[in-house]
């Protein structure tokens, strides 16, 4: 019995795959109704489902699949042509099949009468009224067939520009071969079938037209000899081709590539088809340039069977050899590979130490070899867990089509990077957020066709999904060319909902206003539709993405469209973490919770209020707990740093002894005996194999941070972005003597670097890092009129902006201080320019207040065309907020900034 169940599982699984490809291909077919590859593939899918279901005796599935198969076979043979209604019918049939396959036993309960009847009607219609097989249908393919033939020798062939471009790209020559098959058989003793096989062996047949010579009158139909005209592409030169095929050169007409190239260029979407398509064979005139009116379907004639008119391989569906593997097995493999890496490290150390005898060189080379093999082994195993994005992106064809129809909007989906690979669990976790974003784009983003035309845009809207690898992460974008989001409307909405006061709202910058969309309970849709607009949208998207260790950004221009950028780690198993030290032991804090690291004292002292300790920071009181106390470790540590940890609705500080490093850690589970200690979420191995326990910030806060303080934190959390009456600015010098300032809100971190770490690539200075990303260095003097730094710097600072600009570092020569600067003191008139907010008087000197993102925008639009592939040049490589920070604070001079954002 278990064998049966196994077979059954296999059936459900396989049919599921067929149904998926069926659906995807049907959608593609809708835009390209005569693509024979697609038709074939759809036919095959239906056929496989029918066959497998028949094996198990699922009658309802078999019946439905059978009618569909019959219709598909007519479509495939070109006897009927699909119009919009038929496609809708076929898609809904595939839906019904999917429902049935989800529960094959209960397939009978699913009503599919409409579909069956509709498909049967198509079949009946065809067989009943044969003389007029498809009078209305040729209208459908007409729009794309509307271009003339590029060359007289090609009259009567059907082909598309796409196939020509492919051949032209490979430098093929194109020929029209005119051959009397009967005579050819007589002279060379070669049957037509064999001749075509030979043709295919030296090139690709683009199309074949068969005709009956005019001499073959009706009386002599029995022994007529068919004339074949073949549109053929090959790499062979004309004089070789004749010899290779054993036919006379006069039967071959070369079609000049230049002509075809011009034609394909001017009609990129074009396709040629015989003027009148009919399944009747009509006699052709025996003239120098015959004008056959026969359809490709003549290939069915005896003697020339099985000629595939377009054997152009479709690379997308290239069947790669795959097997199914249990994910658990992959995890074990991954672990083993990790073990090998650690073993390798020990071996390397040993080989490096060396005993000084003669074997050392040999040992060294062996260790090197093992080392490189181990690295690639780990890499390969890691990749085995990855899946291409294509599978996930594929389903959006359907969503876009359905929603577009429902909302009566003409929407085109563009997909880029569907071969980018991502961890399986991440792909699963992305499905919902992406669906939501795409829906939003269609529902709210893209305007109605009328409005679009009025705005001077093409009537059809475009939604674009793209995925790309950037700096060891994956960046996914959902963008549309719709109406964009109006920051003013968002502000008004926020005020209306009582989330902000009118006064607060008026002070938000456009970018801050756009970020309001991620706040809970916020929906901008004027009316709640059944598609979106209930206000549980973007905040859920944000939470879900952050759960996956990702980051969401939104960028929108009114009237131009919206772009949402998601950045994800390649795999879930690796988490960026901050390693802190407490009483000599190392602990890992998930970077996603780390908001800021503060060295208490001076401006931000730790105070005691009624037994609770709080940190006074920028006018806020933040509850503080000591890691040593929580862990019951002995007192007497240094308690030097406070790590501010952001939880969902609160923020608190954790006192630790030291900040050790930032690492990408692999999370390992703890044994069950240790799960009673719920302040740990796991453990990880650091570089030399030592263990660091991973702290779980929510559990640490649990019961220790009073609820009242949590509430205080939550109101603060919103204000962090909105309270901009005054903001803290970092004051520094960048070469010249003039002080410059930048808002701390724009700064991710400040690092001290030495000139020795700089490498120059082309005209770009890069900071080589020990992690897998590099930082591009920018001088303020390149963008705004300030003094340039001395090139012979020994030590200097870099100011790294917040993501998405985190891979850029601005060079500063001296960090002066950080001060609170009320907005009202920033004078925006005199010195304002792109990249400069304005000026203010700080410490008695006129100081420029800079806008880092604006500076980068200005730079990247001119200087970095290569990086614009995905993001139109606005974003440089992505930033990983966790990386590149080894000893964040120790290297800062003491008088400088006591607070320090991460």
């Amino acid at each position: 019995m278990s064998g049966d169940q196994e077979m059954m599982d296999l059936f459900v699984q396989e049919s599921g795959e067929h149904i998926q490809s069926l659906e995807a291909n049907l959608i593609l077919l809708e835009t390209n109704p005569s693509d024979s590859d697609l038709l074939n593939s759809v036919f095959r899918s239906v056929h496989s489902i029918k066959g497998a279901a028949g094996f198990f005796g699922f009658e309802p599935i078999v019946n439905l699949a059978h009618v569909m198969e019959s219709v598909m076979s007519l479509l495939r043979d070109g006897e009927i042509h699909a119009d919009g209604d038929m496609m809708t019918l076929l898609i809904s049939t595939s839906d019904k099949l999917r429902f049935m396959l989800e529960d094959p036993e209960g397939a009978g309960k699913i009503l599919c009468d409409d579909e069956t009847a509709g498909l049967q009607a198509i079949l009946d219609n065809r067989s009943g009224s044969k003389p007029a097989p498809a009078p209305p249908s040729p209208a459908k393919p007409a729009p794309e067939a509307a271009c003339g033939y590029p060359h007289p020798a090609l009259d009567g062939f059907s082909f598309s520009a796409e196939t020509l471009v492919e051949g032209l790209k490979h430098g093929r020559n194109f020929y029209s071969i005119h051959l009397d098959l009967g005579e050819h058989a007589k002279v060379h003793g070669q049957e037509a079938e064999e001749f075509f096989r030979e043709l295919r062996s030296i090139g690709d047949i683009l199309d074949t037209v068969l005709g009956v010579p005019s001499e073959a009158s009706l009386a002599k139909v029995a022994d007529f000899s068919p004339v074949a005209r073949v549109f053929f592409q090959t790499a062979l030169e004309p004089f070789i081709l004749g010899g290779a095929l054993g036919i006379d050169g006069s039967q071959i007409t070369e079609v000049p590539s230049a002509v075809l190239k011009d034609w394909a260029k001017s009609n990129p979407q074009g396709a040629c088809r015989p003027a009148a398509a009919s399944s009747e064979i009509v006699a052709v005139h025996k003239s120098p340039v015959p004008r056959p009116a026969s359809a490709p379907a003549v290939a069915e004639k005896p003697g020339v069977t099985n000629i595939d008119p377009k054997p152009v391989p479709d690379q997308r569906r290239k069947a790669e050899e795959t097997i199914r593997i249990n994910v658990g097995l992959l995890d074990i493999l991954m672990n083993l590979a990790g073990e090998m890496v650690l073993g390798r490290n020990k071996l390397l150390r040993l080989a490096g130490a060396g005993t000084g005898n003669g074997d050392r060189d040999e040992l060294h080379s062996i260790v090197q070899e093992i080392s490189s093999v181990t690295s690639s082994l780990q890499d390969t195993v890691m990749r085995a867990r990855l899946q291409p994005m294509g599978g996930l992106f594929g389903k959006f064809n359907r969503i876009v089509r359905d929603l577009g129809q429902k909302l009566n909007k003409d929407i085109q989906l563009e997909v880029f990077g569907d071969d980018v690979e991502l961890d399986r669990t991440l792909i699963e976790g992305l499905s919902d957020p992406l669906t939501h974003l795409v829906r939003n784009s269609i529902d709210h983003g893209i305007e109605k066709a009328g409005d679009r035309l009025a705005a001077g845009k093409p009537a059809h809207g475009t939604v674009r999904l793209s995925a790309a690898h950037l700096a060891g992460r994956v960046q996914i974008e959902v963008s549309d060319d719709g109406a964009g989001i109006d920051p003013a409307r968002l502000k008004a909405k926020a005020v209306e909902k009582g989330m902000l006061s009118a006064e607060q709202a008026s002070r938000l910058s456009d970018n801050e206003a756009l970020n309001l969309i991620f706040a809970a309970g916020f929906s901008t849709a004027a009316a709640v539709s059944d598609i979106s607009g209930r206000g549980v949208g973007m905040d859920v998207v944000k939470t879900n993405i952050e759960k996956l260790g990702g980051h969401v950004d939104l960028d929108s221009r009114v009237g131009q469209g919206t772009r949402i950028t998601i950045r994800l780690p390649l795999t879930l198993a690796i988490v960026p973490a901050l390693i802190v030290g407490c009483r000599g032991s190392g602990y890992a804090l998930p970077q996603i919770n780390v908001e800021e690291i503060v060295r208490p004292g001076g401006e931000c002292p730790i105070k005691t209020i009624g037994g609770a300790r709080v940190l006074e920071l920028r006018g806020e009181l933040i509850p503080v707990v000591s890691l040593a106390e929580i862990l019951g470790a002995p007192s007497g540590g240094r308690d030097e740093f406070v790590v501010l940890l952001q939880l969902e609705h609160s923020i608190f500080g954790l006192v630790v002894d030291e900040i050790r490093s930032n690492e990408e850690i692999v999370v390992k589970p703890l044994g069950r005996h240790l799960r009673t200690a719920n302040c740990y979420s796991g453990a990880t191995l650091l570089g030399q194999g030592e263990i660091a326990l991973i702290l779980d910030p929510p559990s640490i806060a649990q019961g220790r941070i009073p609820a009242a303080q949590k509430a205080l934190g939550s109101t603060k959390a919103l204000e962090v972005s909105s309270a901009s009456t005054s903001s803290r600015v970092l004051v520094f010098q960048a070469g010249g003597s003039e002080p410059l300032a930048v808002r701390l809100g724009q700064v991710q971190r400040v690092e001290s670097v030495s000139a020795a770490d700089i490498e120059r690539i082309g005209n770009i200075d890069c900071l080589r890092k020990n992690h897998d990303s590099t930082i591009r260095l920018v001088r303020f003097s390149d963008a705004i009129p300030v003094g340039a730094p001395d090139t012979a710097l020994g030590e200097f600072f870099i100011i790294v902006p917040r993501p998405p600009h985190g891979n850029t570092g601005f060079i500063a020569t001296k960090i002066l201080d950080s001060v609170e600067l009320p907005d009202s003191q920033i004078e925006q008139g005199t010195l304002s320019s792109p990249g400069v907010f304005g000026s203010a008087v700080l410490f008695g000197r006129l100081t420029l207040v800079l806008d880092l993102p604006a500076i980068l925008d200005g730079l990247s639009s001119t200087a970095q065309p290569t990086q614009s592939l995905v993001a139109e040049g606005r974003f440089l490589l992505t930033a990983n907020p966790s990386q590149n920070l080894n000893h964040p604070i120790k290297q800062l001079p003491a008088q400088a900034e006591p607070t320090h954002t991460i």
Binding site: G671, L674, Y680
Partner: protein
Amino acid sequence: MSQLVPLQTPGQSFKSQLLCFESGGQRYACDLLWVKEVLRSPVVTPVRLAPDYVRGVIHLRGHILTALDLEVRLGQPQGESAGANRCIVFKTSADLLRLSNPPKECEAADSDPIGVLVDAIGDILPPETSILPAPPEALSGLDSRFIAGVISDGGELVMVLRVGALVSIVETRKSRTE
């Protein structure tokens, strides 16, 4: 399996090989089938807030091994931790699944590695060693849930441990249900 094996009751014999070891001056033994390997001089990272019988965690080739303190687990005061230079690693549930003839109480195994810290490893005793009932808890001071019985090896008494109970999450003392 087909051979006639007497019921595994104390006072009979132990059907598989036993690994002897020493901890805190006392000799112990456990079913060899449970043992995956023995680590020499393991580096134990202490874990704060962990149960008292957990000495810490050990890095075992990419896995995190929970290292138990045998004495505390058996209900005795913590011994001198100066020794403990061996760690007996027990098989995980995945390891045991591969055995055609798994040891007793193998369902108690965890999916993450676990081991006990001991002072020294001794001999391996042959199968069918005759085994005596454990002394009453009141006399030995050892939590009898973890003791399968006692064997006499060369005139010395060896406590035979029930590894299944050791590695499972039963509370120490008090909450006894047996």
